[in-house]
Subunit: 275 residues, 2 copies
């Protein structure tokens, strides 16, 4: 990998919103793309070709897969009316309508169920909670590779976890058979440069990276430092609350999950037994 | 991104084990790294510096996080004795001992619980099944960015899902508090060039990429084509079975999950209520 000229503030410093962060000795174009990530919520009307989506999916399929089970699939949604209905499920997220493509990533045991049925073989292991996590994780590893591939091509993306607000409606919309569950959506398109958001700082590394064993009390200091760094970004965006207030509100109660408290029932309705 | 000279067989063709796959018009060093991925199971004794691990973690923290909750943490394990004990949990995977670093990625609600307790605030939303998936997915997106960063630096990795064979033992080993759950490990080190494995072909794209709505019966043809392409690799590796036989055996029964049928109980023991 060739060396890339760092900007005055190094991307690692930008990621933590902390100009005192140590600058790494190693750097390359891949690290640049990874650190530059921003979720994009305003898109230009420019198209994204089917060839480009195929390239994102071959990148996605290049990610590791647990025991090579490959228990995920992705649905490429371009129909404006269908995107508009899925945007409604997601609480009216306008960028789903605006961007040319919504990729819906699924945990998919239907392919293996069909294979088992064709061979008269049992697939009882798929009925356990463990297998649902394997499907969710496999889908996430794949989708993240697609995100990195998209950003390397100058495209923007944003994950849409809010498809889980109403999984039955998503399943009906995409004709998902039993044993296929929509984990999240991913909007893909050309970023509108007018959006102009900055890279969002994350918690200090000391809070999330532990040596040998886990340290909880030490995280208080990191969270306090983080509040100052992210506060500036939130106030630029006109968001009135602190990170602490935002995360505590998000997870305060059953009601704050926006329907996702029903996830167990939704998975059961899709044939996931979760033993 | 600059153009990279493609090898005689294009990486996309290699990924599908199919030389008739269409060569993409676009290419760059990021796509190259993504498509070149192989899980590495033999390592040189060469060290990986703490600085390099910090760089992988800043790449990991650059991945999207659901509602910016950042409900994951990672434990960097270097102690040879601890790695040996964790290798035992994973059914004796020697590469965990061989490589200098094992990163254990966790779904982490302890940080937010401490914050909620400090503020006398409720965190009832964390008690739902949905929140456990958010933790697993957040950890997976982060870890996959770390994998891509590692491979861009010439390092090798392999995911260790088998840490879920005995989550209580992993938690004791890493002093994980309640509300922190080890999702998977990730071995990081310098690949031993003597391993010499090839890129593993994946299912034809037609099986996993769907247009507008999901198609199940059409996947039979893709799986049949895949059996031929992967059969060659399996026989090179001395593995006697077809992909179909391998995946059906993996998910055949409760016993074939190697202890992961207990995942619900393990999560409950770690304080995850999964309502």
């Amino acid at each position: 990998m060739t060396q890339t000229a760092p900007s005055p503030v190094h991307p690692v410093q930008q990621r933590y919103g902390d100009p005192s962060t140590e600058v790494p000795a190693q750097w390359n174009p891949v690290l640049q793309v990874l650190h530059d990530h921003k979720s994009v919520r305003r898109y230009l009307p420019d198209p994204v070709s089917p060839e480009t989506i195929r390239l994102l999916v071959s990148a996605a399929q290049s990610a590791a897969s647990s025991s090579n089970l490959q228990v995920w699939s992705v649905i490429e949604v371009r129909d404006p009316a269908r995107k508009a209905r899925l945007a409604e499920v997601a609480g009216g997220q306008e960028h789903i309508v605006q961007a040319p493509v919504l990729l819906v990533w699924t945990a998919d045991f239907a392919r293996l169920r069909q294979l088992a049925d064709d061979h008269g073989a049992p697939l009882d292991g798929a009925d356990y909670l463990e297998s649902s996590y394997v499907g969710f994780v496999d889908a996430a590893l794949a989708a993240q590779n697609a995100v990195v591939a998209a950003e390397s091509l100058g495209l923007g993306t944003v994950y849409i976890g809010a498809l889980r607000n109403d999984p039955e409606r998503v399943a009906a919309e995409l004709h998902l058979p039993e044993h296929v569950f929509a984990v999240f959506g991913l909007v893909v398109g050309h970023p509108d440069p007018a959006e102009g958001t900055r890279v969002k700082p994350r918690l200090p590394q000391a809070a999330v990276l532990h040596q040998e064993t886990y340290d909880l009390p030490g995280q208080r200091e990191s969270v306090a430092a983080y509040e100052e760094r992210i506060g500036e970004i939130y106030s630029e965006q006109g968001l009135p609350f602190s990170w602490t207030e935002r995360v505590l509100a998000r997870l305060a109660s059953r009601a704050s999950l926006n329907g996702r408290d029903r996830l167990r029932e939704s998975l059961a309705a899709r044939g996931f037994r979760l033993r």
